[in-house]
């Protein structure tokens, strides 16, 4: 026991060193790039953060659900419905704060619906998630009217002083509100899961609900609340798309981001910071593919062949990356032990 304990500790030590080393190498790489092309580097990193925001919010939604033992593949649908309702509130009231609340509420309601199906009605949780995805596509497609206009979208807020730091300032401290919120939420949810009573209990019901039950924890009630919180986070991701990123609604505007969020959640081993790493990677790939298409005719000679590729192939880049990342990591990631299992007492 002592021996295995120290091996485990040594292993975490090694992972820490490895992560530290990787982050250091990355920082050096960014600095070198910044020294050679400051504007392009800043633009790429800013775009990376923007692109990763809906992904990390969706992944946080997944983490809250799955850590409590409920599979949620309906994040895509939750995002889409919330994006739509947030947009409608913006159209009707012109008040962006109300619009965000509308998106949160929509996500929470769809989350509650998922909880009802998965926990109380004991529907297979994959099917329940699929129902939500199909419902979202049909619902938003049916009620969407062309030509609705809004008075505006969420705009970047520069934080005084901090935003004037070179490189870091424009990338981290000149963002619109939901992006800021997503960065704060990564830390908040990390602390919630691993340092608080609620988090300990949430992880327990996702690993061994019977054990939690025997110490007096209301398993299903806690699962409901976690799935609803997850729904609201997905709702915020939807709100980001229609209120901050694009500023209007389009059919199927989530375009698979909910599923990428799931992949990122698994990549990050169901932890907020791990998922953030995955989300940034995806955001970066997405940025690069648009950059490459944008710079098609100005590529250096050794990359000229890339410009010859049909743009559809370049557009695949982020998704290919997702597949590669998942194929490389899923096997080693361990999901919560009670994931997808209905808890029944007798």
């Amino acid at each position: 026991m002592q021996i295995t304990g120290s091996i485990a500790r040594a292993a975490t030590q090694r992972t820490r060193w490895l992560t530290g080393g990787l982050l250091g190498a990355l920082a050096i790489l960014i600095l070198v790039a910044y020294a050679r092309a400051p504007q392009a580097t800043t633009a790429v990193l800013t775009s990376t953060i923007r692109q990763s925001t809906p992904i990390i919010l969706g992944a946080l939604a997944g983490i809250m659900c799955e850590r409590s033992g409920v599979v949620n593949i309906g994040i895509e649908g939750m995002m889409l419905i919330a994006a739509f309702l947030g947009f409608l509130v913006n159209v009707w009231t012109g008040n962006l704060l109300l619009a965000i609340l509308g998106a949160l509420l929509a996500g929470g309601i769809v989350g509650a619906f998922h909880a009802l199906m998965a926990i109380s009605l004991k529907v297979d949780q994959i099917i329940a998630g699929t129902v939500i995805n199909i419902l979202a596509l049909g619902f938003t497609g049916y009620f969407y009217q062309q030509g609705l206009t809004t008075q505006g979208k969420l705009v970047p807020v520069e934080i005084p002083l901090l935003s004037s730091i070179p490189l870091l300032g424009p990338v981290l401290f000149a963002n619109p509100p939901i992006t800021y919120l997503s960065l704060v939420l990564i830390i908040v949810i990390h602390l919630l899961l691993f340092r608080t009573r609620w988090g300990l209990r949430t992880r327990a019901i996702g690993e061994h609900p019977a054990a939690a039950d025997t110490v007096g924890i209301a398993v299903n009630r806690m699962r409901y609340i976690n799935v609803i919180i997850g729904g609201m986070l997905a709702g915020l991701a939807g709100g980001f798309l229609s209120l901050e990123s694009v500023g209007s609604f389009e059919r199927n505007m989530t375009n698979g981001r909910g599923f990428v969020a799931l992949a990122v959640m698994i990549f990050g081993k169901w932890t907020p910071f791990g998922a953030w790493g995955g989300a940034l990677l995806f955001g970066f790939a997405n940025t690069m593919q648009s950059q490459i298409q944008f710079m098609q005719n100005r590529l250096p000679p050794w990359l000229a062949w890339v410009g010859q590729l049909p743009p559809q192939f370049i557009g695949m880049l982020p998704y290919l990356l997702t597949i590669a990342v998942l194929a490389g990591f899923v096997g080693r990631a361990r999901p919560p032990a009670a994931l997808g299992k209905v808890y029944e007492k007798e």
């Binding site: 026991m1 340092r195 690993e207 025997t214 007798e346």
Partner: protein, 509 residues
């Protein structure tokens, strides 16, 4: 702790029904301050149901529970915990990937501000483990602990919640004899400090060794109460079963013949890819029972699966009658005359949705007389089943009944009948009597000895040392995937086997 001590917990006329079963009928019992009350009964006698009611996991249909003289309604485990009742379940209620400290505080956490106060928790755990002599490392992960250590964590978990009434459900089922002795010392020191203990078991020796009072349950009813001084293993067994039972298996000396099963330097991985059997060599001869003793999880399960073709072999060879069957298909191995009574009868031994008759031909349905080419002969299957049901005393309404509807003992008899009703050279019996009634145990033991006397080589894998000692001619002890010793059954003692099972080196004994 004798007669005049105050009653801390009382059950009055508890009745609990499950669909089709009366699990508890008018059960009454009392627990006095500082005593060990043994609750004795066969599997399915209703012991665990009763305890789950006392702990608030089930609600009784009738009757009441009194804690220190006051009637209470246990609406859930939190109510029971509030009243000072703690329970250590048969299957531990610990989260494997959590640390010891996290498991202990779960549901009774202390916080400083919004965050958990792990330092305070660690201090409290340390203090408890000092006071009760229960050594644990609060920062170890539970999955890295031995079963005995996990049990200690469970006990501290109850004490952390200030439990003064402790229910232990079959606590010795997974322990070595030495760990059992340690547990008894712990229980004694707890009662000396005023904790009252209900100890659930079906092992007679333990009851006599530990209990102050004994209550016997049979078919959901209290059938008697006694004290160890006034009881013997025989009298307790009779109370438990309701008739006189033969505790000793009658058998003649074995006459071992040629080697039938030979394992050569066998190495195996478990499902997670960890090596669990390590260059293991073992042979079993015709006409002998080789008992494989060991604490659960030392590679027995994987070993049985590899012999019967259900698990790939990493290295080494499996020989049956001198022929190489390493990595052969299960059917080929079965057709070589190898019978398999699997560890988990419902998962691997039977197709629960099928009838008794169909389950009886699972290994022969594709040959005559049960099939002609691709056409099944239903009549032959039914006829065969009727014969076997009579011969093996399977209690079933008829042979077309779904096997899921049978009791555990009768399900096991169906498997034994199927496996032994043909010409068998080798019998692999894994936990053949786990969780079944004493009557069926007797019958199955007789069948195993009868097979041996017909010249079958028997490999008996069992977690019950008593079963190994009763049946085996030779005993091999497995520890961490290796055979640490092989002894003739006549010269092996419980203590010696217990030490070997815990990893002691044979030369030090």
């Amino acid at each position: 702790m004798r007669g005049d001590a105050p009653v801390v917990l009382e059950a009055r006329g508890i009745t609990k029904r499950f669909p089709g079963v009366l699990a508890n009928e008018q059960v009454s019992l009392t627990l006095q301050h500082g005593e060990v009350l043994a609750l004795l009964g066969e599997n399915g006698a209703g012991k665990t149901t009763l305890m789950n009611i006392l702990y608030g996991l089930y609600q009784q249909d009738a009757g009441e529970v009194l804690v220190r003289g006051k009637p209470v309604r246990m609406r859930g485990p939190s109510a029971a915990i509030r009243h000072g009742i703690g329970m250590v379940h048969q299957h531990f209620m610990l989260v494997p990937v959590f640390t010891v400290a996290e498991n202990i505080i779960l549901g009774a956490e202390t916080s400083r501000g919004p965050l958990l106060d792990m330092a305070a928790a660690r201090r409290h755990i340390h203090e408890l483990s000092q006071r009760h002599n229960l050594a644990v490392d609060p920062d170890a992960l539970v999955k890295d602990l031995s079963v005995g250590q996990q049990q200690r964590v469970e006990i501290i978990k109850a004490l952390y919640r200030n439990a003064t009434i402790l229910i232990l459900d079959e606590p010795t089922a997974v322990l070595t004899p030495q760990e059992t002795d340690e547990l008894f010392v712990i229980i004694r020191s707890l009662t000396a400090q005023g904790v009252s203990v209900i100890f659930i078991t079906h092992k007679l020796r333990e009851v006599l060794a530990l209990a102050d009072r004994i209550v016997v349950l049979r078919r959901g009813r209290v059938v008697g109460e006694t004290r160890p001084r006034e009881a013997s293993e025989r009298s307790l067994a009779e109370m438990m079963v309701g008739r006189s039972v033969i505790l000793q298996v009658e058998k003649q000396t074995a006459h071992p013949g040629a080697t039938v099963l030979a394992l050569e330097q066998l190495s195996l991985n478990d499902d997670r890819g960890q090596q669990v059997v390590n260059a293991l060599t073992l042979d079993v001869r015709a006409g002998e029972v080789l008992g494989l003793a060991g604490v659960q999880g030392n590679g027995q399960t994987e070993l049985v699966e590899a012999i019967t073709g259900l698990r790939p072999v990493r290295a080494g060879r499996v020989l049956i009658d001198g022929q190489d069957y390493t990595g052969a298909a299960p059917r080929r191995i079965s057709e070589s005359g190898c019978a398999h009574v699997p560890e988990d009868r419902q998962e691997d031994g039977l197709v629960l949705g099928y009838s008794v008759a169909d389950n009886l031909v699972l290994n022969t349905y594709y040959v005559a007389p049960f099939a002609h080419g691709i056409v099944r002969d239903g009549q032959a299957v039914l006829h065969h089943a009727e014969q076997l049901v009579a011969q093996y005393d399977v209690r079933t309404p008829n042979v077309t009944t779904s096997v899921a509807a049978l009791s555990g003992g009768n399900q096991q008899k169906v498997i034994i009948a199927r496996e032994l009703s043909r010409e068998v050279r080798l019998l692999i019996a894994a936990q053949p009597t786990r969780g079944i009634d004493v009557g069926s145990i007797e019958f199955i033991h007789q069948q195993i000895i009868a097979a041996r006397d017909r010249g079958t080589a028997v490999l008996l894998v069992s977690a019950e040392l008593d079963e190994i000692m009763a049946l085996a001619d030779r005993i091999a002890v497995i520890y961490h995937g290796r055979i640490v010793a092989t002894l003739p059954a006549t010269s092996a003692s419980r203590e010696q086997l217990g030490l070997l099972m815990a990893g002691a080196q044979p030369e030090h004994l």
